[in-house]
Symmetry: C2
Subunit: 329 residues, 2 copies
């Protein structure tokens, strides 16, 4: 993996760089998730506890469910000595709004857990095995000698739990659980957070899911399940398209299904296809055959054409991959 | 809390009682869940590792998703010196099948985490703050000096994760996470287990959920959401009624909803109503007004009458409780 010209730091060295500055600007990634916001906020409060001036900058608005993290947002009121990015894998992910380009051009420090981090910062603390950047922020904040408050713990728990689907995803490690335990001991209110983060869905999301479930189809002797949403359906439900991401896990969660497909019609009319597979079936291989890509268990592609053509095209590739002789079999 | 005539033991004492016996019969509760099966299986393998004769007895068949735990099932092939119950709160929960009554009449040891345990056993290890009996079994197995195998860790992780909704329920503590970390270090294959336990739903369950979601209604200015399934719908979907339990969390998961209601028509025609509430609304108070009961956030009652009458009756009580002046307000 090429990590650019960055110099890798360990936790202690990163803590020292932060301790050396009086004015710190913290950058989050665009379309902010619980990890980047949780880390940015926790670091903001940790630096404030050390009587430093700090603020958070993000190209997009912080979603309502993360509003409780409540960091000071940067409005240009100080000249940062140090710019630090949290949970941002590459420069493209900073976005272009809120004056971000002025700062994302030169980033001093980066704390991240994406194995493919491009090494855009001058100094980087990178751990590709961490389930969330929040694991690293926990270490850095402790190394700075800050007493973790309940609010910092809430912020870091938000990063940890959202990036792991509440400790369900394969990225979860023993260390993830150990840090969760430390955050609970520091006063994280996990019952309220879990309700907020995992069990509070907008009505519009419920309506879109209802329609998608009514469209559930089984193909290839039940080895493939498919749901879809047309543009009209998405628009009529008034769902935030970001809230549809979660639906991609639905078809693959059905017993006996090896390939789960979710088709979402895009504003231009094409269908975006999300491919999820059971262990032993390569989602990326399926997506690649139609010009897409991704990971072994989660991949995607986009096809022009009407719903029937799109279904036929993807199902043909699913069948080809499912019926291909297994390697080593 | 009355815990009968039982003598309370600590972890070390419980381990010693088990170490003292050569032939051990392990009892699980009826309608077995991941905790009772996971604990029973882990204990079976731990005792076997000590060259003891052991077996598990359960009044009901072990559900397919827990089959991997694969304990030796008791067929009367040895005379137990000691009978130990795991995750069983009272004698009624043993059930009547598979020759259970012969052994449930006199239980020597009980390891449990239900605060209301009736104290039916001669000696009890009880921790009402444990999120799962698996937390206690972890301690007991370690105290017996057994090296935790990956399979024992898988069994205990099954108990831990199923009883906590994968670390989401309010019963989850820092200690739950610490034990999860230990189980992962011992080789628990949590990715496969989480897929099996949380992301594998029968087609029939999907069909029943589809119907229920089509019946979603909002009442009382969106403060109450309601879903229902008639007997015909339940039967036509061919769903295992046990698989419908999870649906009771659906209406309360909608933004702005304070009371979520799930109505399931029973074989006799009456409606079983599950009441789930947001923080600050007493589910038990609502259920009690109609002759039911339960906990603060989850309660239930059963009403005779057709669907419309049932809805009117429960909605009237929901409204009365929601509109009652708040204590201390
Ligand atoms: Mn992240
Ligand atoms: Mn239990």
């Amino acid at each position: 993996m090429d990590h650019g010209m960055t110099e890798q730091l360990n936790v202690q060295q990163m803590a020292e760089k932060l301790l050396a500055a009086d004015n710190v600007l913290i950058l989050c990634h665009k379309n902010p998730d619980g990890d980047t916001i949780g880390c940015g906020s926790a670091l903001y409060y940790a630096l404030s506890a050390l009587d430093k001036t700090a603020a958070v900058l993000c190209s997009d608005t912080i979603p309502g469910r993360y509003a409780f993290t409540n960091p000071r947002l940067y409005k240009g009121e100080f000249e940062p000595e140090i710019v630090v990015a949290v949970d941002v894998a590459s420069v493209q992910l900073f976005g272009e709004n809120n004056g971000m380009p002025q700062f994302s051009r030169h980033v001093d420090l980066c704390i991240d857990h994406h194995a493919g981090n491009s090494g855009y910062a001058e100094y980087t603390l990178l751990d590709g095995h961490a389930a969330a950047a929040a694991e690293l922020l926990y270490d850095v904040i402790c190394a700075m000698g800050v007493d973790l408050t309940a609010h910092m713990a809430n912020c870091l728990y938000t990063g940890l739990s959202t990036d792991t689907g509440c400790f369900k995803f394969s990225s979860t490690t023993a260390r993830t659980h150990i840090i969760a335990a430390k955050l609970m001991e520091a006063g994280a209110r996990v019952e309220e957070l879990n309700t907020l983060l995992f069990d509070t869905k907008p009505r519009e999301r419920m309506e879109a899911e209802r329609i998608a479930r009514n469209h559930l189809e089984y193909h290839l002797d039940g080895r493939c399940a498919l749901i879809y949403l047309t543009r009209d359906e998405i628009e009529q439900s008034k769902v935030d398209p970001a809230d549809l991401e979660e639906l991609t896990g639905l078809p693959i969660s059905i017993e006996g299904v090896k390939v789960g497909l979710t088709l979402r019609q895009q504003p231009g009319g094409s269908y975006r296809i999300s491919v999820r597979t059971a262990k032993g079936v390569d989602a990326c291989e399926i997506a690649k055959r139609l010009g897409g890509g991704g990971h072994t268990r989660a991949a995607g592609c986009e096809l022009l054409g009407n719903l029937d053509n799109t279904k036929s095209a993807i199902l043909a590739e699913v069948e080809a991959v499912l019926d291909a002789p297994q390697e080593g079999a």
